[in-house]
């Protein structure tokens, strides 16, 4: 392996043909991908393998086949690996009898911190998750959102550079969700890896640098939402062009081969053209040319916007609308 590749793998999370089976049941199969720093969201229906992938990443499960490394380390090196990795799992359970501050600080002793430092780090983490007021109350009396936040605090308390968050927004009210998302972005800006699973697609889209779509244990697609969308040639991109003369525009656009379908839309006070193209770049170039050269008189172009290049549509196309995710 070259030095550059080795140096890169020390900054990446690498899945190399990773499979996990629970007896005869498939967890994930043949996952190969490399994740760079930033926010990576795992999206998929229930049972698609998101949590299995996260548990593999955090060493709670061992791959049946293949290898994975986190910043060049694997789960056989817990003393190094878990200084860098924090995991906020979906297990909504806590050791009995603990207060929020005790729960957050208790496990920091296992990192080698003395009790005073552990307490200070725990308190800082609780501040970041907005839980200081309840810190001295028993976790057993917390609401679901508070339990979610104290787990998040426990996961970030030792200041990991890789944060694995399984449905971290579950149970949070809208304000706390927004704050949590801002926290995730701040951590990503600092160069951390954040691997997040969520089923709220518009929130995923708003905060993620890349998405990994999973279904039935396989990675269906990965990359930026736009990039994933563009790699679906069987699903031409839909673009809505609002203008006064949609029929004329349609005729002009059909001179190029990349527009496959066009539908004129006429409503009370507006008109437009809904079209499909399998080469959005060529389409935009042609449209620019038509407008710039004034080929259509009184076109009255008001707006151009893709209508199905968001994560929801990508999800629906690849995994299927109506499935729970």
């Amino acid at each position: 392996m070259s030095q550059t590749l080795a140096a890169n793998s020390d900054r990446m999370i690498v899945f190399d043909d990773v499979s996990k089976f629970y007896g005869d049941i498939l967890g994930v199969n043949r996952i190969s991908m490399s994740l760079a720093p930033g926010i990576t969201s795992l999206v998929g229906p229930n049972g698609s393998g998101k949590t299995t992938l996260m548990n593999l990443l955090s060493g709670l499960l061992r791959p049946t086949r293949g290898r994975l490394s986190v910043l060049g380390m694997n789960a056989d090196q817990p003393e190094q690996l878990f200084r860098k990795v924090g995991y906020c799992s979906q297990f909504d359970s806590f050791p009995a009898g603990m207060t929020g501050i005790r729960f957050t600080s208790a496990y920091l002793g296992l990192h080698g911190f003395d009790r005073r430092t552990a307490h200070e780090l725990a308190w800082t983490a609780l501040e970041r998750t907005g839980l200081t007021e309840a810190a001295k109350r028993r976790v057993a009396g917390y609401s679901k959102g508070m339990r979610q936040r104290v787990r998040l605090a426990q996961a970030i308390a030792h200041q990991p550079t890789v944060l694995v968050l399984d449905e971290p927004l579950n149970g949070l009210d809208p304000l706390a969700r927004a704050e949590a998302m801002e926290l995730f972005r701040a951590l990503a800006r600092d160069g951390s890896h954040l691997i997040i699973s969520s089923h709220i697609l518009h929130e995923v889209e708003a905060m993620s640098d890349r998405v990994v779509l999973m279904n039935n244990g396989y990675v269906v697609a990965e990359g930026g939402t736009q990039g994933v969308r563009e790699e679906m040639p069987d699903r031409p991109l839909q673009i809505l062009v609002r203008c006064r003369r949609p029929a004329a525009l349609a005729a002009a656009l059909f001179t190029g081969e990349h527009v496959t379908e066009a539908r004129v839309i006429e409503a009370d006070n507006t008109s437009g053209l809904l079209l499909r193209t399998n080469d959005s770049e060529a389409f935009y170039l042609l449209l620019n040319k038509i407008v710039a050269e004034g080929r259509i008189a009184d076109l009255g172009l008001e707006g151009v916007a893709p209508v199905d290049d968001d994560l929801q549509h990508v999800y629906d196309y690849l995994i299927g609308a109506g499935r729970s995710h």
């Binding site: 709670l60 499960l61 878990f82 990192h111 080698g112 501040e127 426990q154 970030i156 801002e182 701040a186």
Partner: protein, 307 residues
């Protein structure tokens, strides 16, 4: 001195988002506070002991241990308050013999056995049932250190309960009936040596049974059945041929108790194992068990759904 934690503490804010300084990326400096491996392992074991102390002394699950430990004391207390004119207690020697039977039959074979079963089998299994084991597995702790810490926590908890209970049992068995003779025996006779022998036997029983139950808790999804089989094996030990007798904990404890107790006319006699063999042998056995437990734990996965 590590100042990282202080800098975090002094820049405290009250919301998730508004803390301005870089949070992640400075963990290297925070981790420079860590010590050498031995110191780190000692700190980690101390942390495990603190966590386990909370779990084992203060949780609802520990109620059974309190009840078990109280059982012999309540029995002895009831006997102690029987008026002297109701029953003739005989001599101090008679009381010592009676206590030896009481200790082996009730304290050693029942209370300590089941107490250790409960404590040590729950060290790992209880965490799986509570779905909290992953917090340990997500910490930078070698699984070997985790197992040693857990085992020491079990020894600490079990000896706290049962050595204390044994001490009070000795006092309750002797003082109410032969106060003067007992005190005299303690200061001038062999009373003190016998008391320490009982306490030491209790300690070693916790160490020995603890190791066995730790292993059972790790290897069996339902550890109750193997625990009951072991209970039968330990009780029937007096019937076993000498070679098989040695594959048990009770044989070595039986050899260590200060007042020998016969097991009746059906007992198959075997030479007691001397302390200079039984104690190092027990410790070697514990070492082997911890090695096996660590091997098992290294391969463990978190699959709560299957439990």
């Amino acid at each position: 001195m590590d100042t990282t934690g202080e800098s975090h503490a002094t820049t405290a804010t009250t919301t998730i988002v508004s803390r301005p300084e870089k949070f992640v990326g400075n963990n290297e400096s925070a981790h420079t506070a860590r010590r050498s491996s031995w110191n780190l392992w000692a700190t980690q074991i101390a942390s495990i002991l603190r966590l386990e102390a909370t779990r084992n002394f203060l949780s609802s699950r520990s109620m059974l241990i309190y009840l078990l430990a109280a059982m012999p004391l309540l029995l002895l207390l009831m006997i102690a308050i029987i008026p002297p004119n109701v029953r003739d207690w005989g001599s101090l020697a008679d009381t010592k013999n009676a206590f030896a039977v009481f200790y082996e039959a009730l304290i050693l074979r029942t209370v300590i056995f089941f107490g250790c079963a409960w404590i040590f089998m729950n060290l790992i299994r209880g965490e799986v049932v509570d779905r909290s084991l992953h917090y340990y597995f997500l910490a930078p702790v070698r699984r070997e250190i985790f197992i040693v810490g857990k085992y020491l926590a079990g020894v600490l908890v079990s000896t706290s309960f049962f050595v204390t209970m044994t001490l009070f049992a000795i006092l309750l068995a002797h003082l109410p009936h032969h106060a003067t003779a007992s005190l005299n025996d303690f200061t001038n006779g062999n009373g003190a040596a016998q008391m320490f022998a009982y306490l030491g036997t209790t300690l070693l029983a916790c160490i020995g049974y603890g190791a066995v139950f730790l292993l059972i808790g790790l290897y069996f999804r339902n550890p109750v059945i193997p625990a009951l089989l072991l209970y039968g094996w330990e009780w029937l030990n007096f019937l076993l041929p000498p070679v098989l007798k040695k594959i048990s904990v009770i044989h070595y404890m039986h050899s260590l108790v200060p007042v020998p107790v016969g097991a009746g006319p059906f007992e198959v006699l075997a030479a007691p194992t001397p302390a200079y063999i039984s104690i190092p042998g027990l410790l070697i056995f514990v070492g082997v068990v911890l090695y096996l437990a660590a091997r098992r734990t290294r391969r463990m996965e978190i699959l709560y759904g299957g439990e």
